[in-house]
């Protein structure tokens, strides 16, 4: 198994793990963490793809912008979670809608 294959496998593993976290964890912050993990897995892939054509930096740039967007997403996500927490006194999204019914 070459290093490349190993790293691809790592990317796949990270992505699946992120997906698992997003799907299973009830807390919104955990979901956010899972999303970050998935984004990172894709970054790893992008960099690996870039190695196929090392004279340009397309993959790296792509990864860079992914990081950029991820940062924005994290910031806004946390803001929303805080807001929601303030409103519902919980950070578990399933309970948001349940509370809504009562209003």
């Amino acid at each position: 198994m070459s290093d490349h294959t190993l790293l691809f496998a790592l990317g796949a593993f990270l992505f699946s793990a992120g997906l698992l976290i997003v799907l299973t964890k009830k807390n919104a912050i955990m979901i956010l963490l899972g999303i970050e993990l998935m984004l990172n897995a894709s970054n790893l892939n992008l960099i690996l793809f870039n190695r196929q054509n090392p004279t340009t930096y397309e993959g790296q740039f792509f990864a860079l912008f992914v990081i950029l967007v991820a940062v924005c997403e994290a910031a806004v996500g946390i803001a929303i979670i805080l807001k929601a927490y303030h409103y519902f006194h919980t950070s578990v999204p399933d309970q948001f809608s349940d509370l809504k019914e009562r209003n």
Binding site: L23, I80, K83, Y87, S97, K100, E101
Partner: protein, 644 residues
């Protein structure tokens, strides 16, 4: 020049014959409730005019060649369907019979229905029926004929259900229409075959050489299925006894004289269409019907039911005659039967009416149609008795009545048809003889128990109103062979034409049939002289089996329908919902991001919860992550599908 005037005049006459009954129906429907009492008079008068017109038309056209008139009705694929009138000998005689019987029934109904609440509807539908029946008889395009064919069925449906508040009447009317519809489907399929091969449905222009024999036979059989339905042939006759729930004059007009005879008339009209094989089917069906009907009539107790079975038997006899090459005899019998059977029904109606009047003041509920409750009426209502006797004699085929003449003719022609060598045809002939034997027996039984046997109930009775007596008288007179066969009246065209239908009958057959008649009457006399009528023997009612069969079929269809409905609600709906599930899932993913990112939590929650509604909540239990889960599952499947 004279020819043109001649045909123009007959065109106008034909059109007025056709439209006056329709006009009568319109008048009845338009007239206000306040003047409802006018409608019987007006429509009877209009029908009388119709009869006069048809008589004029008959004399105008007379024995000359057939006239046709046509107008384009609609066109499709460059084939024009033409609404066309065909005025030929058979048709014109039929027109006369229909308008005469219809007029007499109208007249009779003035008395019979005097106390009815829905006179307008009754006379309106009678007028409409007459229009449809005349249209059926005169039209020469099979599609138009089919239209009128269905329309007479419709008016029959309405008239059977005239007293729709009685459940039996309501059921009987539905049954009659549905069973007729079964036959009509056959007719329609026959028309489809003809259309696909010929592109034309006009009887006078059918070019039968272009159509293969197989399809011609199939088309003939299919159209004959229509006749089976309408003319109450085996196995679709069980609607007719039930149809007796309608008012008696209606039974006389529709279910004895005209509508049920329309099938027989159609067979004569499209005789050229029938191949050898079709004729076999026709004659065998006719024989079975004739015998079954006669047996059925032997064991009934309701006057109208006896007459209904007798009608079935007689119609079967005619159909058998046509199938067995005795088309002329069949047609003649059709005409005679129209009169004597209508006369019998009117007589039965008069008995019922008179009994009703008599029991009106008495306690208790007696079924006045049951022959066990009748008896000894000959002195109480003598005029009814006489007319009823004449018509019964014609039905039984006594000499010097019209029934005798046509029966002889049929038997003679069938004898020629069967040939000398033994074949299946002999069975048909045997059937014909059995029917000629059975008919006098059940006729005698009916007459005996109504007019001669000892009555259980002793009531004062009065003769029915004059209008009823008048129409009964006229109609029974026309059943006397003297009027038809009396030579001195030869000068009249009508007799000329009718005479042309009578070829010489064989003396041997006349002798034989008279002998059989005598045997039948004598044996019936001794059989019924001291006979006590007991409870009805249900097993000898052919209706029972067919009713059972058709009820069973209906229940089967209904159960199947319920099953299908269940399937529809539980399976198809669910599957289709499942198919849209993916769509819903995707919608929820967007809804999820919508809730989190776009709308903001506070306002977004309220909106999307409202918008998505209760159903979707139950569909996907409200958990965002489960939507996501299913969406991912869908995505995985999609990827797998795309990749491999």
């Amino acid at each position: 020049m004279t020819e043109t005037i001649h045909s123009a005049a007959s065109l106008w006459l034909a059109l007025s014959v056709l439209t006056i009954p329709l006009f009568s129906a319109l008048v009845c429907f338009v007239i206000s409730e306040k003047f409802a009492w006018l409608s019987p008079m007006v429509s009877s008068l209009l029908l009388f005019i119709t009869f006069i017109c048809s008589a004029f038309l008959f004399f105008q056209v007379g024995d000359s060649h057939a006239l046709t008139y046509s107008w384009p009705w609609f066109s499709v694929n460059e084939n024009i369907i033409r609404a066309s009138l065909l005025l030929d000998k058979h048709g014109l005689i039929m027109v006369m019979v229909v308008s005469l019987v219809s007029f007499l029934v109208h007249l009779y109904s003035i008395g019979y229905m005097a106390e009815d609440q829905a006179l307008i509807r009754y006379f309106g539908m009678l007028g409409f029926f007459t229009f449809a029946m005349l249209g059926l008889v005169m039209s020469s395009n099979l599609l138009i004929l089919f239209c009128f064919w269905e329309l007479v069925g419709f008016s029959s449906y309405r008239l059977i259900g005239h007293w729709y508040e009685k459940q039996e009447a309501a059921k009987a009317s539905t049954k009659a229409f549905l069973i007729n519809r079964v036959g009509d489907l056959g007719f329609l399929i026959g028309l489809m075959i003809l259309w696909s091969w010929l592109g034309n449905l006009d009887i006078t222009y059918l070019n039968l050489e272009t159509i293969p024999t197989f399809w011609l036979t199939t088309a003939g059989v299919c159209i004959f299925i229509g006749v089976i339905g309408k003319s109450a042939q085996f196995p679709l006759f069980h609607w007719l006894p039930d149809a007796m729930e309608g008012p008696t004059p209606v039974s006389a007009l529709i279910h004895a004289a005209t509508m049920v005879a329309a099938g027989v008339f159609l067979l004569i009209r499209i005789e050229s269409l029938f191949t050898e094989n079709t004729l076999v089917i026709i004659s065998v069906t006719g024989t079975i019907t004739a015998i079954t009907g006669a047996i059925g009539a032997l064991f009934q107790y309701d006057i109208k039911k006896i007459l209904a079975y007798s009608t079935i038997s007689q119609l079967g006899f005619m159909v058998m005659a046509i199938g067995a090459g005795a088309a002329q005899g069949g047609f003649l019998h059709l005409l005679h039967h129209a009169f004597f059977k209508a006369g019998l029904f009117l007589g039965a109606g008069a008995i019922i009416h008179a009994m009703h009047q008599a029991y009106h003041h008495q306690e208790g509920n007696v079924d006045v149609q049951d022959i066990r409750n009748l008896g000894d009426l000959r002195k109480k209502i003598p005029i009814t008795f006489i007319t009823f006797m004449i018509c019964s004699a014609a039905l039984a085929g006594l000499p010097f009545t019209s029934g005798f003449v046509s029966k002889e003719l049929i038997l003679t022609q069938m004898n020629e048809w069967s040939g000398n060598a033994f074949s299946w045809k002999w069975l048909v002939i045997l059937g014909a003889w059995v029917v000629t034997l059975l008919t006098p027996v059940y006729t005698f039984r009916m007459v005996w128990f109504i007019f001669f046997a000892k009555s259980k109930h002793n009531v004062e009775m009065v003769e029915v109103p004059i209008v009823m007596r008048l129409s009964m008288f006229v109609i029974s007179m026309s059943s006397l062979a003297l009027l038809i066969t009396f030579k001195p009246f030869h000068i009249l065209t009508i007799i000329n034409v009718l005479m042309s239908l009578y070829p010489n009958t064989s003396h041997l057959i006349t002798l034989l049939s008279t002998l059989i008649l005598l045997i039948a009457l004598v044996s019936a006399f001794f059989m019924y002289k001291n006979y006590e009528l007991k409870d009805q023997n249900k097993f000898l009612t052919p209706n029972l089996y067919l009713d059972w069969l058709s009820d069973y079929a209906f229940k089967l269809v209904l159960q199947f329908a319920i099953l299908v409905h269940w399937f529809d609600r539980k399976v198809i709906d669910k599957i289709i919902n499942g198919l849209t599930y993916l769509q819903v899932g995707i919608a929820h993913v967007t809804g999820w991001s919508d809730r989190y990112l776009v709308d903001g939590v506070v306002n977004g929650m309220a909106y999307s919860a409202k918008g998505i509604g209760s159903v979707t909540r139950s569909l996907a239990n409200g958990k965002i992550q489960s939507y996501l889960l299913w969406a991912m599952a869908g995505l995985l499947i999609f990827i797998l599908w795309i990749l491999y």
